[in-house]
Amino acid sequence: MTDQLQQLINGLALGSIYALIALGYTMVYGVLRFINFAHGDVFMLGAFAGYFLAEPVAKVIPPQSYLGGIVVLMLAMLICALLGVVIEFLAYRPLRKRPKLTVLITAIGVSLFIEYTCQHKKVFGASPRVFPELIPNTTWELGGLVIGSAQVIVLVTTILLMIALTFIVQRTKIGTAMRAVAFNPQAAALMGVNVNHVISFTFGLGSALAAAAGILFAMNYASIDPLMGVQTGLKAFVAAVLGGIGNLPGAALGGLLLGVVETFAGGMKGISNYRDAIAFGILILILMFRPSGLLGKQQTEKV
């Protein structure tokens, strides 16, 4: 029984990381209707930004303090937001009017470019690095159940960011513009919405989320490497689709669900080697009954 509860905690902790990355995927998709395959790599760059920022920040603010951690997080988010805007401007904007699959290939190209560049020995190199302890890491024990402070932080951050995002999208002016662009870009432009600004903003916001996820991930798992975003990014993408891509609470739900499923499958004797197959199998089953994901709107055919 304790073990089952422990697995639930493990699953929620893992799932909240997926959810955090999935939020970025889903938001960009919601506005642009295209899968930004480079999202997982921005996630990795965010972690590396945190790695390089930790030292200079520690000179100003004493290391291993919450304030220092937040400063590093904010700076990394800012850097990645800029990066996201630049990527969108250079790689995706010229293809805006093209079929989405064309942009998808560019996204795969960007993703490979970031991975191979970062693996180069003159950039980060291929071997893993130790991520500094930004905030003091403690573990709580409750009657055999073990919860790490980093796990709690991730879960709390995911929920806070989801609320903040929902607020931005639903209540602010730029959020209204985002929804307008998502609904119909031409009409939005005619109504005086600067579509380019809105898309840049969306990419910036999505990339900042990826950076936050990257740092929280690195805090949780101690080591970072240039390919850390590949597998995790793919899982987050699955989570986003599972929840109904384009839907913010859906992404969070999809992430948590995937995390829990993976954890229970992975912890079961005899089938742990089929973990990924089981996770995908459940995804397929769900999509067969709800073809637009758990919380996605059933779209009527456009004629």
């Binding site: 493990n10 130790v130 992975g266 004797k269």
Partner: protein, 399 residues
Amino acid sequence: MKLARLIYANSLFCLLAALLVGCGQGTGGGSGAGGGTGSSSSGSNSGGEIKVGEFASLTGKEATFGISSHEGTLLAVEEINAAGGILGKQVKLITEDTQSKPGESATVVNKLIARDSVIAVLGEVASSRSMEAAPICQKNKIPMISPSSTNPKVTESGDYVFRVCFIDPFQGTVMANFATSTLKAKKVAIFTDAKSDYSKGLAKFFKEKYLANGGTISSELDYNGGDKDFKAQLTTIRGGSPDAVFVPGYYTDVALICIQAKQLGLNVPLLGGDGWESEKLTEIGKDSVEGHYFSTHYHPEVGTEISKKFLENYKKRFNGKIPDALAANGYDSMLMLADGIKRAGGTDSAKLRDALAATKDLTLVTGVITINQQRDADKSAVILQIKNGGYKFLESIKP
């Protein structure tokens, strides 16, 4: 109409292919010029140099292992050349990247042999990729030495395929005996990397021996190399309350497994193989890896003259980086080849093969090796314990 055009194109690409294939007949001209460090000279090994091919995973998922191995080999070549080469000839190392991808090794080794006309091929850390290259080397009668592929099947491809490392059955047996006799563990859990043949192979031989020794397996679980979260499996392992856990994996994953095992309160010794050996293990794992055991090729500190020299030179050459087991094996593969060439008195492939097969009591960084009937290296393994961020030598086991 369109169909006709299509079929026209069909024959067009046949021509294209013919062109492509035809390039090979030229003097190495055509597409792309030379690889890695190579130039496009088409001659054999006449011009006072010995061309040695190397294939390694320099990019992709297993880049960190491939690069280590490559650096070891590179260092060996540089040292040999600085000392005047082999039989008065300089060694030229032509390295090709396999991107950690199945399918690439075959292509790359074909290139090294057919285009660069290398006299021998060194390579791959991963057994699956060595197994892909081995039949090609065998077919072309080019000796191949694998630095770190421990799967027994690698050298079964033919009499031109060798290795400088020990094989999985030996290492698995060593650790199984260690678990039963030294640790007195009655119940062991096994935690393997489902994606890695190295991990699976080692676990298989460990399990066989351990069960034969009268032990029981509490649980067997898998992860996928590159995973970051192992808590699910570790929680289940904890539930079986084993006396020790055998984790034959690579240090990148093992460090995280150690950390998470400690967080979950799984305070039993973890055991592993040579894939553990890297400074990164203690760097990432910090105090979580303390007290765990693993088997490997040599002990860097109480090593022989040659291994001390290797440690020093490697650090000097690669900005203070401490060599791991893979780097040492990479270095050794080149030394073994150099020794073979010297004894063969040249690079004639049949003579070189015979010389390599006759390698006996050769002192290398990772120990004294003898090539046995199966063209595997007979050498001893050492068992180390991680203590105070360093390694404590426990025992040395002869094959």
